[in-house]
Symmetry: C2
Subunit: 420 residues, 2 copies
Amino acid sequence: MMNKLDKLNNFEFDVQKIKHMVDQLGSFGGCLQTGVSRTAYSSEWVLAQECIAKWSRDAGLNVRFDTVGNLWARIDGTERGKAIVSGSHIDSQCPGGRFDGALGVLSALIAISVLKEAYGSPRKPVELVSFCEEEGSRFPNAGFWGSRAIVGKIDPNDCDTVIDSSGESIGNAMKSVGFDPIRIAEAKRSDIAAFIELHIEQGPILEDANLPIAIVSGITHIRQTKVTLTGDSNHAGAFPMDIRLDPMAGFAEVVTRVIDHAQKLGRPAVTTIGKCVLDPNGAAIIPRSVTFTIDARHPDPTCAANLFETHKKILEEIAARRNLSLETMVQIDLPACLSDHNLMQSIELSAREAGIKTMHMASGAGHDAQQMSEICPIAMIFVRSEGGRSHTPEEFSTIDDIMAGIKVLAGSLYDLAYKM
Amino acid sequence: MMNKLDKLNNFEFDVQKIKHMVDQLGSFGGCLQTGVSRTAYSSEWVLAQECIAKWSRDAGLNVRFDTVGNLWARIDGTERGKAIVSGSHIDSQCPGGRFDGALGVLSALIAISVLKEAYGSPRKPVELVSFCEEEGSRFPNAGFWGSRAIVGKIDPNDCDTVIDSSGESIGNAMKSVGFDPIRIAEAKRSDIAAFIELHIEQGPILEDANLPIAIVSGITHIRQTKVTLTGDSNHAGAFPMDIRLDPMAGFAEVVTRVIDHAQKLGRPAVTTIGKCVLDPNGAAIIPRSVTFTIDARHPDPTCAANLFETHKKILEEIAARRNLSLETMVQIDLPACLSDHNLMQSIELSAREAGIKTMHMASGAGHDAQQMSEICPIAMIFVRSEGGRSHTPEEFSTIDDIMAGIKVLAGSLYDLAYKM
C-alpha cells in the first residue's frame, strides 16, 4: 500500500498553478516589478484577502472573516473537536516581497485543498488562516494585530489609540473596510488544537546549509529597547574636546560594545542598532542627544536574560563614565516561544517520508505563531530564501523549495487531522 | 595730556543706552523670551537692518545698502584712501540668541559713533558693515553670502540654485525685499584697508580663563566631509552576526576613532559628528547605509592637513576591513586664516591702554572675517560668552564684558583711522 505522500506526490500538486498563484497574489499592491506594498485594511489588502477567499471557496472550503479581519477557511471534521490550523499573513512591508507571509497562506491553502481532494473530509476540523497586520507596516504599534485578537490580547482602547502615519486610527481603518472594532473581542478562539506556520526563512542559514526547508525549534526572545543618551549641545568649532559632553561619542561606544558582544556570543545571538536620531542633527553642532534602538534576540531564555543584562551594564557604565544622562524604555518584549515537540516530530516524519532533508533552527524573526502559542501548541516550517533576503522586492524562493515546504506541510496536516 | 582712551572712558559711553540697543535689536525676530529667529531677507531681518540704518543716520553716518543687502554706514576721511571697516552680521540661527553677530554690528556702530562725537572726522574713511546671511540658517548653501559678495566670490547662478527649505531661491528672496540679484557683482569692494570683527566667543575658553575679551590670532581651517558607508540591509533577527555587512558597526568605529584622535591631539583640534542619517531607519532592520558628517578643524595648516589625512586613513581602513563601500564628499573647506600682525598689535595696545587683560586664541568657528581676509588684513575681538553657549536663546554676555570689547575696538579704530 502507498503511504499518504506517495499518493500526494503522484497526482495532486499542480506546480504551474502554484507558481501562477504566487504571481497573482503578488499583483495586489504589486510595485517595483517583484515588490509588494500591501498594508492592513488597504484596498489592495482587501482584494488579496478576497482572492484567497475565492480560491478557498473554489476548493470547497467554508470561508468567513472574523471580527478583526482575519480570513478563515475550514473543512469540518467527521469528529467534533479542536481544529488543526495553518496559515500566515498577507500584509507586507512597504515595499516587501511576494513571499514573506503570503507563501504561508498559499501553502496552507494548497495543502488543505489537496488533502481534501485526495482524502475528503478529515477526522478533525482543518482550517486555513490569513492573519491581518502582522508586520505593523501601516500601524507601527499593531504588529501581530490579527493573531493578538485571536488569542485575546487586544485592549479595546487600542482601536482608537493605534494610528497610522496619516493619523487614522486602526478602528476607523477597520470600519472603512467593513469590520466593527467594537466586536474585536469576538475574534478570540479557544478551539484550536495546533497551529503550523510555513514562512520564508528571512536569513541565509538554509542557503548556507544547501537545504530547502527547516523545522523551527522555537522563536527567539525579541527585545527592542529605545535608548536616549543626553549630553550638552555646543558649537562644533568653539567648544574644546576635553570639556564636551558629547552623546555621539557615548553612542558610538555603546554600538561597538553591544555588536562586538553579540559577535563573541556567536549564533544565534543577534544585536542590531537599526534606528538612530540625533537632536539636533546639524553638521556643525555637537548633538544634545542621540536616541537609538537596541534590538537584541536570543532563543534561549537564560542566554537572552544574560544578553539584556549585559546591555544594561554597558549602557550604565558608559553613561556614568561619560557623564551623560541615560533613559531606556523597552518597546517590544516578546519572550522566546518553543515549538511543540510532537508537532516538530510530525513535520520531521513527513519530511523523511517525502525524502526531503531538513535541519532544525531557531527563528530570529517574530511570527504570528509566537502569539498563537498562547492558546495552542505551535510549530513552523521555514523555506529557503535566496540570499536570506526579506522585507524587500528581491525576496525569492524557488518553486522546488516551495513545493518541498508544501509537501511537508501537507504530510504533517494529514498526520494531525486525517490519520486514525 | 589725556590719551584717547581716558577721554573715551570719561564721557562717551552710555551703558544704559547700549543695553537698551541690545534688547531692541533682539526684539526683531525675538522668540522664546531671550531668543532670536531672524533669517536673511525675512521681514524681521529687514526691520533689524533698518533699525541699524536709523541709529547710524542718527549718529551722522552716511548709510547705504549694497546690491546684495549688506548695510554700510560711513564717515568719510579727511584724506582719501581705503576704509577701516568693522562689523558683523545680524541674521541668526533658528532659534539663536541676541549676541552672535548682532553684538559685532552694535559694537562697531557704538565705537564709530563715539569716535565721531569725540574726535570728528577721521583721517581715513571708517565704515560699519552689517553683513547679510552669515549663518546660512535660511539658505544652507549660502553661508557668508554677504561677505562673499563683497570679496567677489558669488557665482551669479547661485541666485537661482541656492534655495531655502520652502524651495524659494535666494534670488527671489532678494527681489522680494528690494535687492536685484542681477546686480550682485556690484557689491564687490576693493577699497578696504582693514577689517576688525567683534564677536562672542561661542566657546568657554575666556570663561575658564576669567577674562572678558580675547584677541583672535586666526580662524581655524574648517572641513566638513559627508561620508556614506554602505553595507547590506537584512533582517535584524534572521541574519547571523558573523555574515553581516553592517554599516552601523563601521560607523560607530569611525566615530570613536576620530573623536579619540582629536582628544589625543588636544586643543585646538576638534572633530564632531553632528549629523547622521540611516537608510532605512528601522529598529528591526540592519541599515543598508549610514550617511554622516565629519566636521574637523585646526587653525594650524600643517596640523589641519595631518588631521584630514588621518581621517581619510581611518575611513579607508575601516571600510576595507569591514567590506563596506565608502563615499566621501567635502562639503565645506575653509582654509585657516591668520589675523594680521599689525591689527592684532593695535588691539593689544588698545586693551593695555584701557587696562583690560586679554589673551590670544584661535577661533574654532567660521566668521565673515575669514571671507574678508581675501581682500584686506583682518583681526577679531572675542567677548566672553556665558557657559560658552551660542546658537541658542541662552547666549549671554555681561554688559561689563561687552563694554570692554567696545572700548578696545574703539581704541583700535582710533589708532587705525584717526592717529596721525
